[in-house]
């Protein structure tokens, strides 16, 4: 199982995502923003960071990187030409997915106008995606959150559509850290192959280096995020 991680100029959590894939038991593959080739990987992670500095609008330039053209083509709704490549966008990667229109909505500046780094409690609400099938429905987990522009925003109709179709993958519990509408932390496309998530599961995959806080279904050693990556191995295999 080969999972690619894209490095854009300004990507920061790319090495962490590669490490998480390895810990989960997959084969991590580095992908370069300037290549049109995704080296035949089975799934792709768009990592956190500040691609191209994010000076225009987060993810707005990364969306036009050569590698993204190929990912957008492959990740589109499954058709003859597009097999529905699984993609997980974390933080900046979520922003890139929204800019690419693979996911609806947008991420805006945190409500409190400050960057925030905290151990965040989440509820996993959709478990039939490629990236969350190893969680139980309504599992409560803790993973790090760190963003300056992480407020999920969409119009009422889109929010109602996401809720109605069960496409809210994860929701913030206890504290809404950034003013996201309806406490939404992550969403998916209709088929559950593309998932965008503002918090960072790759930073909760190794005991001793993840969050200290615990939630109801926590692994107890700060590795609550690992199942995103083991899910992908499972999900892609069975697809």
């Amino acid at each position: 199982m080969r999972i690619g991680v894209v490095t854009f100029p300004g990507s920061l959590d790319d090495r962490d995502a590669l490490r998480a894939v390895r810990i989960a038991g997959g084969t991590p593959v580095s992908l370069w923003h300037g290549d049109e080739d995704i080296k035949g990987v089975d799934a792709v992670v768009l990592p956190g960071g500040f691609s191209y500095g994010d000076y225009l609008r987060c993810g707005a330039i990364a969306r036009f990187a050569p590698v993204m053209s190929e990912i957008i083509r492959l990740a589109g709704p499954p058709t003859q030409t597009s097999p529905g490549l699984p993609v997980l966008g974390i933080c900046n990667g979520f922003q890139v997915l929204c800019e690419s229109h693979l996911l609806p909505g947008a991420l805006i500046r945190n409500e409190q106008q400050q960057f925030i780094c905290r151990d965040q409690k989440l509820r996993i609400e959709r478990t039939d995606t490629v990236w969350t099938n190893r969680y139980g429905k309504d599992d409560e987990i803790v993973v790090p959150l760190k963003n300056g522009e992480g407020g999920f925003a969409a119009d009422q109709a889109t929010l109602d559509m996401l809720e109605g179709e069960g496409r809210v993958v994860a929701r913030y519990l206890d504290v809404n850290p950034n003013g996201s509408f309806r406490d939404i932390a992550g969403i998916s496309n209709a088929t559950g192959t593309v998932v965008g998530l503002m918090p960072h599961p790759e930073h909760a995959t190794e005991a001793g280096y993840g969050p200290e806080a615990q939630a109801a279904n926590s692994t107890g050693d700060g590795t609550d995020g690992l199942a995103f990556f083991t899910s992908a191995l499972q999900g892609v295999l069975s697809a």
Binding site: P9, G10, L12, D13, R15, D16, R19, G48, G49, F50, Y52, G53, D54, Y55, Q114, F115, I116, C117, R118, P144, K146, G148, H200, E202, H203, E206, G208, Y209, E212
Partner: protein
């Protein structure tokens, strides 16, 4: 005339101050005073050159001979750091003082480089950019050693929390530290935040960076090899930060004076992040002979330092420098402190490989000239010679001042005004409410409002970060080898006695590293003081350096680098002497580190060290009585060593589950912090410790005696742990145990964690969100 000079119009050529012109017009008025030079320094330049300097030469000398770059007032004292470093202390030292940053061997072929620097004055003028570029500058020092930057820390000092100027500068400084560090992908793993009225109008922004590298990857800043190419790469040169080192960092702010905003640089963390990855690829490809970052004094510094550390000559074409503003004059280009620039020395054969990598990262690279064996640094502007100097005279042979210093007259009165006269709590109820009050003073309250703005997770190697005593990083993912780092300084102690205060700063940082399980190896320092032209300040500086150098010698760990920041004062009022000390230690396996909070009930609590009625300079005396007088706590470095030895071994043997050093706020504050960390309380009895040390409960709870820690020990390991303490001669006494939802002092009072949490966590948000 060369073909290059055809690019200049006749008017431009007429206006250009060349070496040729300088030789024939000795009497031209030159703006040396406006550039921050003294008359005798200007005369010295004329003597070196045997003519008047050109405008460009004057620009170079003025920035390189500034206090910030030349250490002209501090040099005579700083020599002690080298002189008091014994051969034994150099055991782990791969690169010592004098390079961009020191490099320490931590074993298994790994090395660590770390350094702390100041960016105080720019942060006062323009808080966000000043702080941001402070982080950027120290990170480039780390890259230029050949290392991957892996973490930052930031010791910050502000005026009183309720002072308007604190509200003007703090949010911007914190956002700047976070904005830059977060965008670089560097975890922020610690530092300090301190509030004191002495910093009103002169906040201190110190930034520490750490990098890791393999021994064979060490790079140095020198230009060797006649005919090798000098390549400038990274961001373009602009008009920002012109004269930052000479005008901002080496002068005092005066009320109502002109704002100095154009002298502050503007940072672009994205450009620096790309530069980091590009440099690491360049090192990996082995296409760099020597490398230097461009920080203070910009190209003036890079040209002159690279040349004088190498074969001694360099010929560069300044007009090749890519500019953001095409109207910049050569003097301005030489002085600009535009950020995110580096300079490398590359062999002609390696140039294609070098450019391939810079192209891959979209980093602009320009061959500026070449290394020569002429012994002269020659700078051309469109073919005309505008600089022709011996590079050492610019970079290393600046003025050295033996500034007069004398013990300030007011110090006797301050030391005589001991805290003995202050009213102390008399009843257990008063003690109880004091614990709550103290937990929420600006200096002891939770720093989460600030530290939550910093990414501590990125890179995935942070084993421990604030609010723990020391930041702990994994260096080797296989073996778990890692480092612990802490920075500390109590400026009130230094104000009472700078010699002892500097040693107490060293002792606290050393203790914090040891308590976390790190074996202390090396020291970096950032010496923040007032004007060196004030003999009282100069005395404080001399005493602090002497104290620190003596302390390092006693502890057997060398100073590997650092920074001096002078002129930290507004008008005639200097800040308290603030020698910030960073200590780095090594852990064979960071999985066996010791955190500062206890996670579960049932651990046995012990107090290590001796408590004395030491309240001078304490947080209690200051926060409750606005009192600053007496003599600071006594220093016992042998006791610090013994404590660290016990704790390093106990961590490694996994006897302990938590340990917290006792410093600001004493035992009471340590118990509160360790209990709040994971919401697990503690029950303690003070009687045995009070009786042994001959002190009352108030003293045991709030005194700030050094060489102490509170340790939570696994119950089955209690005997082994106490025996280990006794073997090292560390006084040890049982205090109680962990558990429950209160901090209970038996027979006296009990406080719920909820009320303590409210008191501890509300202070900064209430003050800063208003």
């Amino acid at each position: 005339m060369t073909s290059d000079s055809m690019n200049l119009t006749p008017e431009q050529r007429a206006a250009l101050d060349t070496v040729e012109k300088a030789a024939t017009t000795p009497d031209v008025e030159q703006p040396w005073a406006a550039l921050g030079m003294k008359a005798d320094e200007y005369e010295a330049v004329r003597k070196i050159l045997e003519r008047r300097p050109t405008g460009s030469e004057l620009a170079m000398y003025s920035v390189m001979w500034s206090e910030h770059c030349s250490y002209k007032s501090s040099k005579v004292h700083l020599r002690q750091f080298g002189e008091k470093t014994t051969e034994a202390m150099k055991e782990h030292l791969l690169v010592g003082i004098g390079e961009n940053a020191g490099v320490v061997d931590i074993g298994q072929g790994w090395a660590v480089t770390f350094k702390v620097e100041s960016h105080n004055h720019p942060s006062y003028v323009e808080p966000y950019q000043g702080a941001a570029t402070g982080v950027g500058g120290i990170v480039r020092d780390i890259i230029s050693m050949g290392a991957r930057p892996v973490a930052v820390m930031d010791p910050l000092r502000f005026g009183a929390l309720d002072h308007p100027d604190t509200h003007r500068v703090l949010p911007g400084i914190v956002a700047g530290v976070g904005g830059y560090g977060n965008c670089l992908g560097l975890p922020n793993i610690g530092g300090e935040v301190s509030f004191d009225p002495c910093y009103q109008g002169n906040p201190l922004v110190n930034a520490l960076a750490v990098g890791t590298l393999r021994h064979e990857d060490i790079h140095l800043a020198n230009a060797r090899g006649n005919g090798n190419l000098v390549v400038l790469f990274g961001a373009r040169t602009g008009g920002d930060g012109i004269g930052g080192a000479s005008i901002l960092a080496s002068d005092t702010f005066t009320e109502g004076g002109p704002t100095k905003r154009p002298a502050v640089q503007v940072g672009d963390p994205f450009a620096e992040k790309v530069l980091i990855e590009c440099c690491l690829d360049l090192f990996k490809a082995d296409v760099v002979q020597g490398i230097q970052d461009l920080g203070a004094a910009g190209l003036s510094c890079a040209f002159s330092e690279l040349a004088s550390n190498g074969d001694g000559g360099m010929l560069v074409h300044l007009d090749r420098a890519p500019l953001r503003d095409s109207t910049l004059a050569p003097e301005e280009i030489l002085m600009s402190e535009s950020q995110e620039r580096m300079m490398a020395v590359v062999t002609p054969e390696d140039l294609p490989g070098f450019l391939e990598i810079t192209n891959r990262w979209d980093v602009e690279a320009t061959v500026m000239g070449e290394v020569t064996d002429t012994g002269r640094l020659v700078v051309l502007w469109h073919g005309e010679t505008i600089v022709d100097v011996p590079p050492r005279s610019v970079a290393h042979d600046g003025p050295v001042y033996e500034r007069p210093y004398s013990r300030p007259e007011w110090l006797d009165a301050r030391q005589a005004d001991t805290p003995d006269r202050l009213p102390k709590p008399q009843t257990d109820d008063e003690l109880k409410s004091l614990v709550v009050t103290m937990a929420g003073t600006p200096n002891l309250a939770s720093r989460a409002w600030i530290t939550n703005q910093y990414d501590k997770y990125v890179q995935g190697n942070t084993a421990q970060a604030m609010p723990d005593d020391a930041g702990v990083l994994r260096v080797d993912e296989e073996s778990g080898l890692g480092v612990a780092i802490a920075t500390d300084c109590n400026q009130r102690f230094a104000a009472l006695d700078p010699y002892t205060g500097a040693q107490l700063a060293l002792a606290e940082a050393y203790r914090n590293v040891g308590v976390a399980g790190g074996k202390p190896l090396a020291v970096t320092d950032c010496l923040n003081f007032g004007s060196p032209e004030d003999p009282a300040v100069m005395w404080q500086f001399a005493e602090a350096v002497r104290g620190l150098a003596d302390g390092c010698q006693t502890l057997g760990i060398p100073v590997t680098g650092g920074n001096v920041s002078l002129y930290n004062q507004t008008g005639s009022t200097a800040i308290h002497p603030t020698p910030v000390v960073g200590v780095l230690g090594v852990l064979d396996d960071v999985a066996r580190r010791t955190p500062s909070g206890w996670k579960s009930a049932g651990a046995q609590l012990f107090l290590l060290g001796t408590t004395r009625a030491e309240f001078a300079g304490s947080e209690w005396a200051w926060s409750q009585h606005e009192h600053l007088g007496g003599l600071p706590p006594q220093v016992d470095l042998a006791a610090e060593q013994a404590l660290a030895t016990v704790m390093v071994q106990a961590s490694s043997d996994e006897l302990v589950v938590a340990a917290h050093d006792l410093s600001d706020g004493g035992l009471a504050q340590a118990l509160v912090e360790s209990s709040l960390r994971h919401g697990v309380g503690a029950t303690v009895s003070l009687e045995a410790a009070c009786e042994r040390d001959g002190v009352d409960a108030f003293t045991l709870l709030f005194a700030e005696s050094a060489a102490r820690a509170v340790v939570a020990v696994k119950p089955e390991a209690a005997q082994q742990f106490t025996e280990a303490c006794q073997a090292q001669g560390v006084p040890v006494v049982a205090l109680g145990s962990t558990g429950g939802e209160t901090v209970a002092v038996e027979g006296r009072f009990e406080l719920t964690l909820d009320e303590l949490r409210v008191a501890h966590e509300r202070t900064l948000p209430e003050a800063l969100n208003a």
